[in-house]
Symmetry: C2
Subunit: 332 residues, 2 copies
Amino acid sequence: MIKIAVDANGGDYGVNTTVSGSMLAIQKYKDLEIDLYGDEDQIKPLLTDSTRIHIHHTKDTISMGEKDPVRAIRHQKEASLCLAMKACKEEQADACVTSGPTQCVVVGAHLLVRRLPQMERVALCPFVPNLDGHPRLLLDVGANVELKKEHLGELAIFASVVSKEILGVKEPKVGLLNIGSEPGKGRENEKEAFAYLSEVKSIHFYGNVEPTEMVNCPCDVVVTDGFTGNICLKAIEGTAKSMGVMLSQEIKSSFGGKIGYLFMRKNLKRFKKRMSTKEVGGAMLFGLSKIVVKAHGNSDPVTYGNAICLAYDLVKANIIQKVVDQLPENKE
Amino acid sequence: MIKIAVDANGGDYGVNTTVSGSMLAIQKYKDLEIDLYGDEDQIKPLLTDSTRIHIHHTKDTISMGEKDPVRAIRHQKEASLCLAMKACKEEQADACVTSGPTQCVVVGAHLLVRRLPQMERVALCPFVPNLDGHPRLLLDVGANVELKKEHLGELAIFASVVSKEILGVKEPKVGLLNIGSEPGKGRENEKEAFAYLSEVKSIHFYGNVEPTEMVNCPCDVVVTDGFTGNICLKAIEGTAKSMGVMLSQEIKSSFGGKIGYLFMRKNLKRFKKRMSTKEVGGAMLFGLSKIVVKAHGNSDPVTYGNAICLAYDLVKANIIQKVVDQLPENKE
């Protein structure tokens, strides 16, 4: 049995998403058990099938607009997010899934789940949809605004293991996000990181990757600091969203467009699905002693269920032990 | 008469683009004169209409793959880019247009055209297409990998003048590119810049802008350092391009899609045009004592012609004098 602790009160829609999402996940994996940390009064009427799902009652929630993550995590000890993470730390669960506010999740992960002793930094890592249909890993996208070359090195090792075990990439290539493809491009940080990553033996370093290539990427893993990664990810998300709006405006702008739409409705739906991050379900937190998956705040039940399944897959693949096995070699 | 010096040998296609582009620009403005710096033997057969176009012969070109911009600018004194810039500096032309390699253009601008004495940094500023059809100014996108708050302040003033005079925005709002909308987000740089920009009297500071909003932007001008701006711009460009490919793949994937395309061909063409940066023609270099416009390396004649017209518009609007009038107030 693999047990996942779910922050049921978290996210924009709270139990309305997390409970349905949990029921979907349970259907997919027969050896999955879910502990819902949340408001029993709200959960019970929604939980139409409680097979392998247990409720741990708590009314407290960390607000999506929380401005002081450290204070929230330290003081709201009974918040659903904190209880779910604590359960992880205390070995009552194998992983934790939450759609709570990102910075609170990052702080909670540090204070409640704790880092792997072999890792110096924690990173937030989403899957980036790609032209060839194979998502790529981009990290860090927001856990640390700055990261040194050594941190990028250990995170590259972590992500390479995930790329191999979860995405099935045989020899994951690691790229460094940069403003030019040649060595010597970027700030001092990038120049140092380029030299350092070239020497890390347990990864396959590809070289610099420009953000133009991020959605049609020659690498499987792209590393950068959390500020730059966040800028890049949000630029991709915003452009994809705005282009969808523009396309729909143009189609609706004429009769011919509307007729054409009737013929290519299915094609356009597939197009939308390909660019959507919803299919994947969430971002992972790398560097912790347990698996933590952060689902989008505005996840729907399917997306949330996928986030739980991702956490399951990461536990099942024994990712953390495999990363630990790789790390010492690097530290020699 | 407004005279523009054109680096005719520069860019991926050299004279094949620059000569046709120049002839297009001449047709648009009757008080525009163009000095083509380039290979006379190649230009002459292409120059089917030499009205107000003069050739200044030079065979030397800065290669698009140039790895050492400082060396190139210092040593290739007879290169078309260097001669066109020198003509600007020596008041033989009012502005310079080039589609040469970006870093060589930036270095050439510094060494040959020179900064305004009131400005401490030069920035590269493209127009970013937006959902509402009004392009926005994003800077710096690559002239300086790092920029201090004071530099962002002076560049914000420069860009505000351009937004007002060229894009017709009455009171241009200036945003700071950041990973969150609330004050206090980002690195030390962003926190300091936020506080500083709030105090600059000659601009209208809006606050932080996230890259998700860059293509549907609440501001008219968005400032950031050249590393971050380049990451953001390239992520937008790459996503737009890849989405276009995905859309075309999906449409072609079924008979219904192909039929639908016949009906909405015009709509899809308009969509493509709206996301294209080609319409605008180029990026501007802010902070110099003369107007310099950098056209895309792979410009076609129409795009190149637009870049020349942009340079004309900037000269005609007397941008540099207007910026100088604004700057001292800020420096008090």
